[in-house]
Symmetry: C2
Subunit: 276 residues, 2 copies
């Protein structure tokens, strides 16, 4: 083979990552975005949406375990769960590990992402077969606005980054809606960007959540495929859950009890900005 395929993602106009592409498994332009699934030597299979890395085999377990388990072990009765986005299935895969979960409602705007994940990313999407999962192919903002009040114990916002269409998922109006559909003792978890170069976005979401929720806890995890290699999450709730009330599922690759505690330790430069 005399030619080479390379992928390049600009994290800002000034920097980014690149990796070799061995095979392109799937490409489709949907009404919502460009979907690509590629195979690469270091990252393994990679899901790209509009040319941005969403999921890689190298690190997806960190992201999905860290989005789901910190809240799952804290909530006293996690029966009704809502997932916004999460079309690759990784979040659902982690959620179905809990017997306590009775129903998982997922609102994913793009049916094609789910279909592609089912076909090309079975390691992520296998959980979609669980009878407790119901997927609605709808805009998450609209879905939450039209949902009944106080129905969910837990909500996971597993969305694209706040550029383009997902920007609304970081705004006050959406937080207002989430607060309304969440039970009073519920927990909502957002994925929320890199603390090194996007701390302003984290701060803005943190402040937005703090207006509606009594407790907002940021936490961090390493993510080699995402900008700066470190990602943040924000957990918001009205109760102050401090100690885990259930065990972690067995077989996790990233999360354990030490990690659950340590992830909430924030570096000084993050603390100083969030609590200034």
């Amino acid at each position: 083979m005399s030619h080479e395929f390379w992928f390049k993602e600009y994290h800002t106009e000034h920097n980014g990552i690149f990796f070799r592409i061995e095979r392109i498994l799937f490409q489709k332009k949907t009404p919502f975005q460009q979907i690509d699934i590629v195979e690469s030597p270091v990252f393994g299979k990679v899901l790209l949406l509009d040319g941005l890395v969403m999921t890689t085999e190298l690190d997806e377990f960190v992201y999905h375990e860290m989005l789901v388990h910190p809240a799952m072990v804290l909530h006293p009765s996690p029966k009704q769960v809502l997932v916004i986005g999460g079309g690759d299935g990784g979040t659902v895969r982690e959620l179905i590990k809990y017997q306590e979960v009775k129903e998982i409602i997922q609102s994913e705007i793009d049916r094609e992402v789910v279909e592609a994940a089912k076909k090309y990313l079975p390691e992520l999407s296998s959980g979609f077969n669980d009878p407790r999962v119901k997927i609605f192919f709808e805009d998450g903002v609209k879905f939450v606005k039209e949902s009944d009040a106080s129905v969910f114990d837990l909500i996971f916002v597993d969305s694209s980054d706040p550029v383009g269409p997902a920007t609304v998922l970081y705004g006050d109006e959406f937080i207002e809606s989430l607060h309304r559909v969440l039970k009073p003792n519920g927990i909502v978890v957002f994925q929320s960007e890199s603390p090194f170069t996007r701390l302003d976005i984290i701060k803005s979401l943190f402040d937005g959540l703090a207006k509606k929720f009594k407790v907002v806890k940021p936490y961090l995890a390493p993510m080699p495929g995402y900008p700066d290699g470190t990602w943040s999450f924000l957990m918001a709730m009205n109760e102050s859950y401090d100690e885990p009330v259930r065990k972690l599922p067995s077989g996790l690759k990233y999360v354990n009890e030490d990690i659950l505690k340590s992830a909430f330790a924030l570096p000084n430069f993050v603390k100083n900005r969030l609590y200034d």
Copy 2:
């Protein structure tokens, strides 16, 4: 300006990072390596050795604080300190924050790195002016081999990665030498690669240290400029120091007491490999 300068670092032959270069501040080919100091929009000033990112303004505080402070707060009497490498000065800058430190011996192979850092990276190199610091421009391996036994309370191996000339710094013979020049109650700290794609190197150094030292403690920190964005460190000692015996210096940007505890929490995939 119609042209653009870009820097590209391959972390493997298949992937890496790139960033825009605004200005090249310094370039020199020394008997040991190619030194470049450049200015870039996101990473700020960057020191490159043989084309690999060593130090960036964006994240150097994480690396240097995490190399130095976890051991410094544990050791009962950190008077005599040895630094292997560390030509940019960041490690010395953190060390001189402790009154308890009476002498810092630094063995840096390349005088030109220190000279360039003094001129172009004053934020890092300012500590070189401290009267407690004595720099020997010598090969670290040779320096340690020729040093008296049991003289250092703490040793920090702030070296290049184990490719090319620095490979010996990860071998059994060097560990043997370090063990000899360290006092019996001393601590040695290594920087030791990414846990995501270079876990075999960490494992090998971990096993090498475990042969000579009773306790080896790995810990992690985020490093956007380094491969995979997460870096590991290995702390080795013959005493089991568990609780800090002194306070952290004020004004740190990354490290605080929560971070000191949480950094030692290892993900399952790291634990499983290191303790298999």
